[in-house]
Subunit: 346 residues, 4 copies
């Protein structure tokens, strides 16, 4: 089984692995399935806080073959932190029967490395979809059991663009982050059945996610890798543990209603574990009819603005600031909105 | 009487005065009491969007002797806009009796110019308090009838510091904005009876607002003036119009509860006119126990982070993004929180 | 005749027109040919310091039909300033003969407004070329007499892109600034005979200026206009005044040699009046074989980096910091370098 | 002996240690005396590129007991790189006599950790001076033989300020970087005899370096350490190698003259190895009488502006961009200028 628990720790800086020492004594090094963290960089091309976190965490993930997904950017109230996803034994009664009728499960995987000219294309999407489908099969679940697919995907640097054997999808390094997230999200949508076929992949890519997206995708780009790192969070009737998840999507960046709807479904007395959300500036430059300035601000990138604003709203709803809000929601929810997943413990 | 209405218009850029043409035909040039706007600059020392807005709006305020208060910074979802506060005739029945038992009123004033070495000091606070007390007297109301005092206050530039006859409170131009807002807010607190006496002014200034603050102050600093521009919003039983106001304060930057409490007091069917709020990074570096990075980010100033985050939360609650969220809440609400005022029309 | 002098004044802020009062008493309002200034904004999409300067200067240009060209961005040591180009009477001896065998001349003009979908295209280039050719004819000079064509050109905002009747060359507002400068520069190159024909216009545009550029173009984009504002600086044997000009180009961003070569041609005892230069990050990411980070920095735009660095070098050579260094040299000098023009007074 | 060579390598990113593999085969791990590098962060409080570089380089410095000094910020044309200072055997003739009459030498050391309330104070300066004096004694040289003392010094974070047992010199994390550099530089000045006594230390600190500074100090602050890391570069008649050094100081940020003077002293045919320079915005807001905007720009920190501008000038003079230009020259050269050291190989 792949039953998991999630432990969350704030970090003092991107090189801080002190959370490891705060895990329950029963957790062994080989139980560390994944580290999903927010680091305090700009979340853009030259954000080396993600690389720093990878460098310090990856040795601790060696024993288990686990992976790390670091998303840069804790603008506004957001608090840098890590969520450690660790193997959780099945909760069984003395007679060996399951104590819970279901439980949270997780599995990680990696795609092959991508060539610079593949990043952001349908190849990127399809290879991602194949890896996810294989993981779902291994988990013995259906696509509808998946609550969130968290992915760390690559970006193009000036050096990669110059060295590429074929033309790349863009020469703009910041824009390449969006294309990489989009292709990854479209791959997730295809793997989860949210879009129908390979033609729909092309349509989704061409429309920049407007004509095909996933409400269960959370993709983050970084310079510190060349392939996709994938973490699947799902629930399974075969598992037995007290962790539960819900998912939905914000229709725009100020969609308080869906957040209150989701949190109202958490049973009274349950412990709020974590909320994963995506945020982005709407590409038409308006929110509910009013102009925003996120895309015409040459001092602060649009993804930073979006993380700050949505992070403020989500922190207000969640009641704490160590929440996972990631910027750049291309294909991860409707245009201008973003996917949301909440995890709680009954 | 000083009964007023508030009309709100989004702007295409900081030089946009098109909203003037959208006022009801009955509004005459001499009815324009004040323009309170959000412009899309950085809200900090070198934010010349406020100066641009002042340059284009001030000629329109000449006929009425009105003033302008522009607050820079529409980070995240916030939408640049102006609130035009205009004289509203008393609503009377055919028999001359009042149609409403109360109404929104407003009055504007200016202090004398401040010397560079006075800015941010108790002199700054006391002169501000005197002007406000005089305005309250003219309005024939009590301090408790006031819902919000909006002030535009000066800052120190390198040139002013170098030219000053006496030492200034700081040589750091960005920090001078905070000191100016603080002294202004403490002056408001004193005028409204929120702090007791002149000794309390000193205590409030020395504690940087922790030991004395106003829940009805909203202060914004700018390089475009040398004195304080003051707008008082209040309600009076002597007035008769359908505009109403409520005030409160956020205890921290994610205080969703107070926002839901305030908005729940707006009667069903009433029209939401505007919400005025202040935001700031908590100076102890934490929010509900979790570290934030607003004060250690050398790329984006803390006030920008705070506006973006609180702007996201308030826009979510208000349901639109053309809200007035201003950064730097020194003495304007408790440390890390900020004052809030909502205006609606029954 | 169109003989001109150039007077330079530093500004206290972008709304400062105090320089007007420092002109010689003999200069009349109708003598003001052009204002070419550097303002202290970010020089990018949301730089409203240019708009503020235009708003305050344009009334003073009404009497003469003059134009303004404001270039945003005074990063590093650069000092905000304005160069006032004013009509200068011919210097004649008592017998009416010319005191000087040549002199500096200038002429200004404007193209028609451009549609959003025209900006950055060959239409933009050709219309610009036509206007410049007409101005050269009016000046009764040859293209080789021209030392610098300073142009203020438009950019695309999110609002313009959304409203455009046809697809625009880009939806990225920051990138639109580069396309606008490029098309304008290519138009200048064509008008000055630096590129051969209309086919060369297309080749220059397609290669982003690598296969066709002007060493006498200086283009600056801004949101404050919809057409091209053009200032031509030239020397003419028909004029008689003590102002002279030289031009050249930096081959890369650290080309000290060409700057020392140009300044060594200024006669001993001559007064240095102004230097106009363009700067940009090389698009291949390297300078003389070493990687630069200007295009992978998501906190500071590449044009800001380039202005700061080239501004430091040019200020060192010129010996003062009130020099005109403008960012974004697409088609204005070789890739990674930029055009340079020096003006002095014998 | 402590004879050294300097090898310089550009880096692909702050985690890049590939330069190690490009050292001559004769260099052994225990020969690595120090790594002095420029990383591509913002050079300010939240610059974790320095921490990343430390994390990846420090294991390689273990065998030799060497230290690392990383200075963040490669604004403008500056190229991220590392200078590896490695032990160089004495150049001897077959008869054992020295081939060169002198040579470059280096030694590294560390102070004790500093308490938060000590940082930036005279304690900080004096402890630094003691460590440097001891190193000079060990090198068997006189203070005047020292060409440059490169130091990495700590800064205050919000967490340190809050936790400090006594009041800190500032609560502003960015400002703490300047105080730390200043105290370190004053300590260097004292150790090198550039200021006279302990009273002069206090005068230098109180005047923020105006009344006491070192032309041979280069200090860089970072969050990645709690003590001072010190590298001394000197020349000694006892050594025998072809490396030579010169030092001087820029009187202001555009002091081209001193740079041309220093480089003109490099013998024809000698190889330019490295130039180390400090840069800062002048605190009076002007350069040679003209206003600069480095200290009133709330989008880009002043040290970033200064590095970009001075980096452009120095790269132009040096002819390449992999030069060491560090921001924040408090006490390291006169106000607004900075120390300079050039190393070449005959």
């Amino acid at each position: 089984m792949s039953g998991v628990a999630i432990y969350k720790f704030t970090t003092a800086h991107p090189g801080d692995v002190a959370g490891l020492g705060k895990l329950p004594a029963s957790v062994k090094p080989e139980d560390l399935v994944a580290v999903v963290g927010k680091t305090e960089g700009n979340g853009c091309v030259n954000d080396y806080t993600r690389m720093l976190s990878s460098v310090v965490w990856d040795p601790h993930l060696k024993p288990s073959g686990g992976i790390s997904v670091f998303s840069g950017g804790t603008e506004g109230v957001l608090s840098p932190h890590v969520s450690l996803i660790v193997k959780e034994p099945e909760y069984l009664a003395d007679d060996g029967s399951k104590l819970y009728s279901e439980g949270l499960i997780a599995k990680v995987g990696e795609t092959r490395d991508f060539e610079p000219w593949e990043m952001g294309t349908s190849i990127h999407a399809k290879v991602t979809a194949e890896t996810i489908k294989a993981l779902i099969t291994e988990l013995e679940i259906e696509p509808e059991d998946v609550h969130m697919v968290l992915v760390k995907c690559p970006l193009l640097t000036t050096a990669k663009v110059v060295a590429s054997a074929k033309p790349c999808i863009t020469t703009d390094t910041y824009k390449s982050m969006g294309y990489s997230r989009l292709a990854t999200a479209v791959g997730i949508a295809y793997a989860l059945g949210e879009i129908a076929d390979e033609a729909a992949i092309d349509a989704a890519l061409e429309s920049y996610g407007e004509e095909g997206w996933s409400s269960r995708a959370s993709c983050s780009s970084g310079a510190e890798l060349e392939n996709n790192h994938i973490v699947i969070l799902a629930t399974s009737k075969k598992a037995s543990n007290p962790y539960r998840a819900l998912h939905g999507y914000m229709a725009d960046a100020i969609d308080l209603k869906v957040l209150l709807d989701l949190t109202s479904q958490i049973p009274a007395g349950a412990e709020r574990v974590q909320i994963f959300a995506k945020a982005e500036p709407s590409t038409d430059g308006v929110i509910r009819g009013n102009r925003h300035t996120m895309m015409t601000d040459s001092d602060i990138q649009g993804t930073r603005h979006a993380r700050a604003a949505v992070g403020g709203l989500i922190s207000g709803v969640w009641g704490s600031t160590d929440v996972y809000v990631s910027g750049g929601a291309e294909g991860q929810g409707p245009m201008g909105g973003g996917s949301v997943c909440v995890v709680y413990k009954v």
